[in-house]
């Protein structure tokens, strides 16, 4: 079986606190892995390790892209070629307009011409129903709008592996439904998604397999029929 993300025996401690304990799983291209679990169980730490924002204490992470981005290898870390992450908080850059937020990485990391970057940004904003805010500063956006712009910013660089950390927070039912459509579309194009959420219904709608993280240990959810 082809594997997009392979995690083996991953452990991470913050001082004496064990955040991840011998976590092992793999995800195939086009699959959506939903991870749930109580607060403080290590879900965000797991995503941060996958995004190279945290260094695990032990274990290994293999990221294998199935769609190559035409980016010169000296432009960014090999891992960054493939992994994109949307955070629980939007963390938009407040000194730039919404569209500038989406264009920056496209131009400076991917080397896309400004015109093409603007077109891609506008298309994503349209898909996420925030195109009317493209020339606004992030401060005037609502929480839900900020979250959608943050997702659009991550998608703008076309990552192969997409990590979503509680991205439904602040979105109403209609927008969550829209997001589900986008996730399904991304998965259908061969992209791999790992989605962390407290919302079991949301995960049930989008995940091809689900897992539960508790006290740093990842276990397969026995109640979910979609479990691999």
């Amino acid at each position: 079986m082809q594997v997009a993300v392979k995690v083996e025996d991953l452990s991470k401690k913050y001082g004496k606190l064990l955040a991840l304990s011998h976590v092992t799983f793999s995800v195939a291209p086009g699959e959506v892995l939903g991870i749930t679990g109580p607060s403080g169980s290590g879900k965000t730490t797991l995503l941060r390790c996958l995004a190279s924002l945290e260094r695990p204490d032990s274990g290994s992470i293999e990221i294998c892209a199935n769609t190559g981005n035409a980016v010169p290898s000296n432009k960014r870390h090999p891992c960054h070629l493939q992994v994109g992450m949307a955070f629980q908080r939007a963390y938009l850059w407040p000194h730039m307009t919404v569209i500038q937020n989406l264009m920056l990485a496209q131009t400076v990391v991917l080397g896309r011409p400004e015109q093409a970057a603007r077109k891609r940004a506008a298309q994503l904003l349209e898909e996420l129903h925030v195109s009317d805010k493209k020339d606004q500063l992030p401060q005037v956006l609502s929480g839900g709008q900020m979250q959608r712009v943050s997702i659009a910013r991550m998608l703008a660089v076309d990552p192969d592996i997409i990590l979503l950390d509680e991205v439904t927070a602040g979105l109403d039912d209609e927008l969550v439904e829209g997001l589900q459509g986008i996730i399904r579309h991304l998965a259908s194009t061969g992209r791999t998604l790992i989605v962390v959420s407290h919302d079991a219904t949301f995960l049930g709608e989008i995940a091809s397999k689900t897992a539960v993280l508790k006290n740093g240990c990842l276990t397969i959810d026995p109640n979910n029929p979609k479990i691999a």
């Binding site: 995004a51 992994v83 992450m85 938009l92 407040p94 000194h95 920056l104 990391v109 401060q139 910013r153």
Partner: protein
């Protein structure tokens, strides 16, 4: 009997006062420009991940926070020649002391400005594949600069006013020229009034610029 004002003396000694203004401005520029650059380097040291570097620059900052500029001026001007046989001119002594003192304050302002940028914004840029230099240039610096500017301008104004202390070692800036003119005319009230007005005229545009930055920060965060 009411004091008889005679501002004619200001006009008579305007040449000396203008010379003093020129020296004050020169001294301020000579200390502000390298002091800011040095302060940025010290801030980088304070933000270093290496504890030894952090501790060294912390000590530097604390030392120059503690020593009054007047003491520093006198010490460098009179003690250095005795200790190291190093004789600096009054102007050199003044700009070096003002620069060193200013750099410590600039370092803390720059450090605070850079630290004020949320870690999440930097991480978002990292995940998007931006290099450390790109993150600094495009995300951290534009925001930190806006936040630092009012405090930096305030510090530059303080440096300008502190330059008056250089009169004590004989730098021919505004206060020195004023005192010299007073010695000739016995008209301290008129001449000190003129000196005060000169400072107001120099500082006011800087102060207004500071206010503009403050209002911009309130708009853009």
């Amino acid at each position: 009997m009411a004091y008889q004002w005679n501002f004619q003396v200001v006009s008579t000694y305007s040449g000396a006062l203008l010379h003093g203004i020129g020296i004050t401005l020169l001294l301020t520029i000579c200390s502000v420009v390298p002091g800011t650059l040095l302060g940025a380097v010290i801030a980088w040291g304070r933000l270093s991940t290496k504890p030894v570097i952090r501790a060294f620059f912390w000590f530097y900052i604390e030392v120059f926070f503690a020593i009054p500029v007047l003491v520093l001026l006198v010490w460098v001007y009179y003690c250095l020649p005795v200790l190291l046989h190093l004789r600096l001119s009054a102007f050199q002594t003044a700009w070096i002391c003002l620069m060193l003192s200013l750099s410590a304050f600039v370092a803390e302002i720059v450090r605070a400005g850079v630290s004020s940028i949320p870690k999440g914004e930097v991480e978002a840029a990292r995940v998007l594949g931006m290099t450390r230099w790109q993150i600094f240039r495009l995300i951290i610096f534009p925001q930190a600069f806006r936040r630092m500017m009012p405090a930096l301008l305030g510090q530059y104004i303080t440096a300008l006013k502190l330059s008056s202390l250089a009169s004590i070692i004989g730098v021919t800036e505004i206060i020195y020229q004023t005192q010299l003119s007073i010695a000739h005319t016995y008209r301290p009230l008129e001449l000190y009034t003129a000196a005060a007005l000169a400072y107001v005229v120099i500082v006011l545009p800087l102060s207004l610029t500071m206010k503009r930055f403050e209002s911009r920060i309130q708009t853009f965060g």
